[in-house]
């Protein structure tokens, strides 16, 4: 190991300068901004915690927060369950592994914009191929464009479809790293495939599931494009999520102070959710151990 000399500093300088300039300093500045009143073309005025008070007493913020928590939880849980299922399917062996991987990874390669466009077209009430098929099966017209819960459901569906490849790869990598010998020993002892899954795969997969959950929860919290392009937060701001609330506050209403406060609430919120899950899972894991 070398000690950090001048060459070493020079080699890491670009990373740290870039991150400081583009991410770290701006995010600290946002905290400062959140304590001031600010809008287009006016000076900053110190207002203390007023922006936070303002945001926290805004019913629109709470609706956005509730929507976000509901959708994010739905997305992440469904994704992880599906990912485990697909990983088990892949672990069982398949004939054209490269081709199947390529197919499963496909949604990862396209833009969220196209993902929304595709599903919007397929589910378009009255003209979409899937929505008409659902109608033909006798479930009636699924008109998500006027029903906020359905619209959020469609956003969640798009988000799951779009992020499942990433989640699957994380879970699959975890499953591949479970030593083969454990399964061989279990088979010698006469364990069925079902028992092997519940007694070996799942318990040994817990760390990978944990990492995936935290990753996905934190990332899903940023949910913007899927909802924005589907409904623009409408009708009547009923389908807003926190990122849209922030975007509207800043770039539409010009309330930078409040948007900055929302930003920090978002940071704290996503970390808090991750922390709560971590703590909860950790406790459960300890409880399960004999």
């Amino acid at each position: 190991m070398r000690t950090l000399d001048r060459t070493g500093w020079a080699l890491i300088a670009p990373v740290h300068v870039l991150m400081l300039a583009v991410i770290t300093i701006p995010s600290v500045y946002v905290l400062w901004l959140s304590l001031h009143s600010s809008t287009f073309g006016s000076g900053l005025e110190w207002v203390g915690l007023d922006n936070f008070r303002e945001v926290l007493s805004d019913p629109y913020f709470w609706r956005a927060a509730r929507n976000t928590v509901l959708v994010v939880n739905a997305i992440v849980y469904v994704e992880v369950l599906l990912a485990i299922g697909i990983a088990v399917l892949f672990m069982g062996g398949l004939r054209y592994p490269k081709l199947m991987f390529a197919i499963v990874l496909m949604p990862y390669a396209i833009t969220e914009v196209v993902a929304v466009l595709t599903w919007k077209t397929l589910l378009n009430p009255g003209t979409g191929f899937i929505s008409r098929a659902i109608e033909d099966m006798g479930f009636g017209l699924i008109n998500w464009s006027i029903s906020p819960p359905l619209a959020l459901g469609v956003s969640a569906l798009i988000s799951i479809w779009y992020h499942l490849p990433f989640t699957f790869l994380l879970i699959y990598a975890g499953m591949v790293s479970i030593p083969r010998t454990v399964y061989e020993a279990a088979r010698v002892d006469g364990a069925t495939a079902w028992q092997q899954f519940w007694r070996i795969t799942l318990p040994l997969l817990v760390p990978a599931i944990l990492i995936t959950l935290i990753f996905r929860l934190v990332f899903a919290f940023r949910l913007f494009t899927e909802v924005w392009l589907l409904t623009f937060g409408g009708p009547a701001r009923l389908t807003e999520v926190v990122a849209i609330y922030l975007y509207q506050g800043a770039f539409r209403y010009g309330r930078f102070g409040e948007a900055a406060a929302t930003g920090w609430l978002m940071v704290v919120g996503s970390l808090l959710i991750a922390a709560i899950y971590l703590w909860f899972m950790h406790r459960q894991m300890r409880g399960a151990r004999p």
């Binding site: 991410i23 946002v30 466009l117 919290f221 392009l229 990122a243 900055a260 940071v267 991750a274």
Partner: protein
Amino acid sequence: MTEVLRSAAMPRSTVRRKARWQRQAGRIFVAAIRQVFFLLLIVWSLVPILFIVISSFKRQTEIFAYPPSLFFEPTLQHYISLWTSWDAFFPTMINSAIISVSATALTCVICLMSGFVYSRYSSAFLGLSAVYLIAIRLLPPIVITLPLFPVVNALGLSDTHMVLVLLYTAFWVSICTMIMKTFIDEIPRSIDEAAAVDGASTLQLLWRVVAPMALQGLAACAIFVFVFSWNEYLFALIFTTTDAKTTPLIIAEVMDTPAGTNWGVLFAGVTIQLIPSTLLVVLTQRYLIAGLTAGSVKG
């Protein structure tokens, strides 16, 4: 008990044959179920994308025909109209290409250097800053758009390729540094010593020896950054208006004017847009998976 009695009543060979048959039937059943699930998986992942791609070759009237026709006379009409009538589309493709390639190259160079340092040097600063690099990635990107927006405007960087290149690079250098560190960790240190004995400087060692051996890691980083930059929407929406507008933006714009949307032309544009990133992911999946494993182990 009854099982024993019954088997005692039957000739032994029949019992064995029956058991074998049951086992085999069970195996066939499981195999069939697996095939069904694979089929569902293919439909789920592929059909939405195929729908758009196939529709781009259909005549306008056939696109929304129900039930959708599988056998139709393919037409290139939409691709021709895309070229002749939708002037704004191809410049955005060029913008996207310039921005994605620049961000990818910049990230690879920066992270080769930093990954090398995080792998080969030791200091308290490196240990602490590695945690900082990972932690800062948890920050929602939309948060930093607020302070950057006025700064970018003041610097005259708004609506330039540069602003998106810097943003995309900044958001990937942290994770790519860790990916490169993992890959460079795999290169034996004895090679460094051998190079030093031969009189190579640190920079020569990095470019001539380490870089070629860490190509896998660089490939993984390049895929992540390129796919992200090619497809990114939020930053592009906030920081570009006309000159540096990227393809996802223009697709989104056209999609939201339902009355006058020419769906065929839009689908043709989308098909062209998704080719580069899809090909990249499909052809280089090996590196993608290796990079993801390297990143998640550390992250």
